[in-house]
């Protein structure tokens, strides 16, 4: 059993990692609803973002691995083989596709080897990963040992691709509900049903399985400098994901845009009283399109962040996070500040549900694991039932704009 402080250091990063995608997607919903379009397609949009984002990351990884593999097989391994044979009078042959070998060296031998290997490849190879391989005591799996800037770059690319896909996919909803004045619930439901089907079908076409597995670990062991701060460093800057920090930054920017800019002011007016906005020469349709697209972008990003931080693989689901984000929006009363707290609440419930075995009093209850898994959803029901009375939903959300109506 973990001590209390260990437990806290274990749980807090998990809660934060859960909070960020929830809050981000809820903020997306806020942009859409405040512009006047109810967007329950977030689940589907998130899923599409997650799917294409994961696909992109996986592709980048494979490409990279191929390059590495070729270097490793053609240059690095033969050199090491020869070097080891000459230097230590040992024969090693690295099996194909296996990067693991235990040379069983003494520390002195190892240090010398590193020096020589580095000297040999220096200048030719500046890529950091080679250094990483060379400096590990034993030649471990490349995928596992690589924790560098380039890898994090893939995560960022994946998130951006997710955002783009989210925008494109959300346009379908925007077109149906703004131009065609369709029922926004039905249109969104259609997208929600389409997204997993599309993801499964496409994944099977490509990989013969519906799973998209991300090979590398995008966790940052410790953020330089910040990770060394006592307590705070342990809580917030260790074992975290770059995507988490990115999500927080995007959240802050989005809130500034919403409350401090002309566009934000106009967007908020369109969800409350579009007739008023129209009479002041504001183009309701443009603003609503923008609102839905922002929600698509945020949901798409949220999807990728979700995959990066929770699952090493994407299996045509985002576990209801999109719907949970809508609950967060409602519990957060359509206000960004309260959304953070709502997201923290739901994230904590979720983490409690999944790490219950580590928490003494929950473990003592000896309930079925399924019951713990229900915690976040039951909490959603209860909290919404209690708080929905004072809801401050945008007055025009869900209503197609009709200029003739006064």
């Amino acid at each position: 059993m973990l001590s209390f402080s260990e437990l806290i250091y274990f749980i807090v990063p998990l809660v934060i990692a859960s909070t960020v995608p929830l809050a981000l997607v809820a903020l997306g919903a806020l942009f859409s609803e405040r512009s006047g379009v109810v967007n329950i397609a977030l689940e589907g949009i998130m899923l599409m973002g997650a799917f294409v984002g994961a696909l992109t990351i996986k592709n980048l990884e494979i490409n990279d691995d191929k390059k590495l593999l070729s270097f490793y097989e053609n240059d690095f391994v033969p050199y090491v083989e020869v070097y080891v044979e000459e230097e230590f009078d040992k024969t090693v042959t690295l099996a194909e596709n296996s990067f693991y070998v235990d040379l069983n060296l003494t520390q002195a031998q190892y240090d010398k080897m590193i020096e020589d290997v580095n000297a040999h490849f220096n200048g030719d190879i500046s890529d950091q990963e080679v250094n990483t391989i060379a400096t590990s005591k034993t030649f471990k799996s490349i995928s596992d040992s690589i924790q560098d800037v380039k890898t994090q770059r893939y995560a960022i690319i994946g998130i951006l691709v997710g955002a783009l896909v989210g925008i494109v996919f959300s346009l379908l909803h925007a077109f149906a509900s703004i131009n065609m004045k369709a029922n926004q619930i039905i249109s969104a439901t259609a997208l929600n049903m389409f997204a997993p089907a599309f993801a499964i079908f496409t994944a099977r076409q490509i990989f013969e399985t519906q799973k998209v597995t991300i090979l590398r670990n995008y966790r940052i062991t410790s953020v330089p400098l910040l990770g060394d701060i006592p307590v705070i460093g342990d809580l917030f800057f260790k074992g975290a994901y770059l995507s988490t920090y990115l999500g927080i930054a995007i959240f802050v920017i989005a809130v500034l845009v919403l409350y401090k800019t002309k566009w934000g002011l106009r967007l908020r007016s369109c969800g409350e009283n579009p007739q008023a906005a129209d009479s002041l020469g504001i183009n309701i349709y443009k603003i609503r399109y923008a609102g839905v697209m922002v929600s698509g972008a945020l949901a798409g990003m949220g999807g990728v962040i979700f995959v990066l931080s929770f699952a090493a693989n994407f299996n045509a689901t985002v576990s209801g996070f999109g719907f949970l984000a809508l609950a967060v929006l409602i519990f957060g009363n359509w206000k960004p500040g309260r959304i953070i707290f709502a997201a923290l609440f739901f994230a904590s419930m979720r983490v409690l549900g999944s790490v219950h075995t580590l928490i003494p009093f929950l473990e003592e209850l000896k309930l079925q694991p399924q019951i713990y898994a229900m915690i976040p959803y039951i909490a959603t029901l209860v909290v919404l039932a209690i708080t929905s009375k004072n809801s401050a939903a945008p007055r025009a959300a869900g209503e197609p704009y009709d200029p003739g109506k006064r």
């Binding site: 800019t261 002309k262 906005a277 009479s279 009375k389 006064r406």
Partner: protein
């Protein structure tokens, strides 16, 4: 004479009707020009054309002598035209300042420059004596202040030509007085004003000239000073109008409705919207509950008719306690109700006229047999009411209620409620949105019911109606009855002070 705005020979058609048929309106610089007409005469359409919300089929618009094309509110704004809409176009959860700058924002590096905006608003508000609190939310301020915000919105955009669309409909007499003063001040500063209204007294009070529309057609323009109110009314309606409601003195008999210490709590707002009200309505009198919209009249009626729960107190009909009765039980006990919102509570818009006429009685023996409706009886019933109450519609009993005009929809409701022949008739704003002819008709019906020995409870916001039709007046303010008056011994001013809460009788 120099005109600042000229709308020449404007024709605007909607499917089926010509909303404006060759209408001309010429506005001089610095005048208040009234635009008079009944509901549906085309006033709002004409102004929407000037404001760029509609594009006319024919006609030209000149601003300061130059022909212009206005296709959206931004164009109107560029030409210095601003409008205070009848239903305020304000965002309820924005502050006053946010509402004023919306759509006309100044920014620095993409961020709003609010301090400068607030300073400009305060300068304008000092200059034109338009007192507002820039940091309050719209939902927290009075209707009068909301209107001042609308006016500031135009001035903030440097509008020279100001359109006021029925600006007094929602104001107390004192606020109306104040508004009239503001309008005169504005013209002194060189602004030109178009005042849309159907209230002749106001025109007489402030306007310089008056153009009249009737059924989309331009009737003429008159100098207000040389024209009598009667003459203008005749131009508007097309015939002579009887302003005084003919009625004899009331002869109240026994009590029909008794309301005792009635309190209704709104659980969402956490406050009592009707506070400890007691009154009696007698046979042979019209009791009027007056007050500004939103002071608890709606909830009072809902409590009496069973649409909302009574928190405490009792409602007695002919001595029987009906407080806890359901709506149907109350109907059957003898309550008729002409509701405030005829679309929401009065009619099922997608039902036919004949179906609407049996909404409260379809279950009676007369109209059903073993659960099946007796359509012949229903048709006969509808035909009788259509004939007796002169309800006009396209296809008679089978007309869909939605396709009928507002006046005829209201007539249908009045017919249904009166035909039920109950002891108590509750009429909530029965003439809202109706034209002069229909108003006359409804008033006559109410008085006829009174003379037939029924108790009539009239809830009205229009002081003319309150003073002309009723026999006794109770003023409500913030859920309380603040005074009781004899219409013969009071006047608009006195009622206005009570309605605004600045005076109250001690019980």
């Amino acid at each position: 004479m120099e005109y600042i705005v000229e709308m020449l020979n404007i024709t605007k058609e909607f499917p089926g009707i010509k909303a404006n048929d060759n209408v001309t309106l010429q506005l001089k610089k610095g005048e208040i020009h009234a635009l008079l007409g009944e509901n549906g005469a085309g006033k709002s359409t004409l102004m929407s054309v000037l404001f760029g919300l509609y594009t006319p089929e024919e006609g030209t618009i000149k601003v300061r002598g130059e022909e212009v094309v206005i296709t959206n509110p931004n164009d109107a704004n560029v030409h210095g035209i601003g409008m205070v809409h009848q239903h305020f176009k304000l965002v309820h959860n924005f502050t006053v300042a946010e509402n004023i700058v919306l759509g006309y924002e100044d920014t620095k590096f993409g961020f709003l420059k609010f301090d400068d905006a607030v300073k400009k608003i305060n300068d304008l508000s000092d200059k034109y004596k338009l007192k507002v609190d820039t940091s309050s939310l719209i939902s927290d301020i009075s209707v009068g202040m909301q209107q001042r915000v609308e006016i500031l919105k135009m001035l903030y955009r440097d509008a020279e030509i100001l359109i006021f669309d029925e600006p007094t409909a929602v104001l107390t007499p004192q606020e109306i007085e104040e508004l009239m003063g503001i309008m005169k001040d504005l013209t002194k500063e060189g602004k030109s004003i178009i005042l849309i209204t159907h209230k002749l007294n106001e025109i007489k009070q402030v306007a310089d000239r008056c153009s009249v529309l009737r059924k989309g057609k331009y009737i003429g323009t008159v100098e207000v000073e040389n024209t009598s109110v009667e003459k203008m009314a005749e131009m508007m309606v097309g015939r002579e109008v009887n302003f005084v409601v003919d009625k004899e003195d009331a002869k109240p008999k026994d009590t029909v409705l008794e309301v005792k210490n009635l309190t209704v709590r709104n659980h969402r707002l956490l406050k009592d919207v009707v506070k400890d009200i007691s009154f009696e309505a007698k046979r042979g009198e019209i009791l009027c509950i007056a007050g500004i919209e939103g002071n608890g009249q709606t909830q009072l009626v809902e409590a009496i008719t069973g649409l909302t729960h009574v928190t405490s107190g009792n409602i007695l009909l002919k001595g029987n306690d009906i407080t806890k009765f359901s709506v149907r039980e109350k109907n059957n006990a003898g309550v008729s109700h002409i509701p405030e919102d005829r679309h929401k509570h009065g009619l099922v818009l997608d039902y036919s006229l004949e179906e609407n006429l049996i909404l409260q009685s379809y279950f009676e023996e007369k109209f059903q047999e073993r659960g099946f409706l007796r359509f012949d009886e229903i048709r006969q019933h509808a035909k009788k009411l259509i004939a007796n109450f002169d309800i006009r519609s396209g296809k008679g009993p089978t007309t869909s209620a939605r396709s009928m005009s507002g006046g005829n929809q209201q007539k249908a409701i009045v017919a249904r409620e009166i035909d039920r022949d109950t002891d108590l008739l509750i009429a909530v704003q029965p003439t809202r949105g109706l034209d002069v002819g229909a108003i006359e008709y409804i008033h006559k019906q109410l008085i006829a019911q009174r003379d037939a020995g029924k108790a009539v409870l009239l809830i009205s916001l229009e002081l003319d109606e309150v003073l002309n039709v009723s026999d006794r007046i109770i003023v409500m303010y913030e859920g309380e009855a603040v005074g009781e008056f004899d219409p013969k011994k009071t006047n608009e001013n006195e009622l206005g002070l009570y309605m605004a809460g600045s005076k109250r009788s001690e019980a």
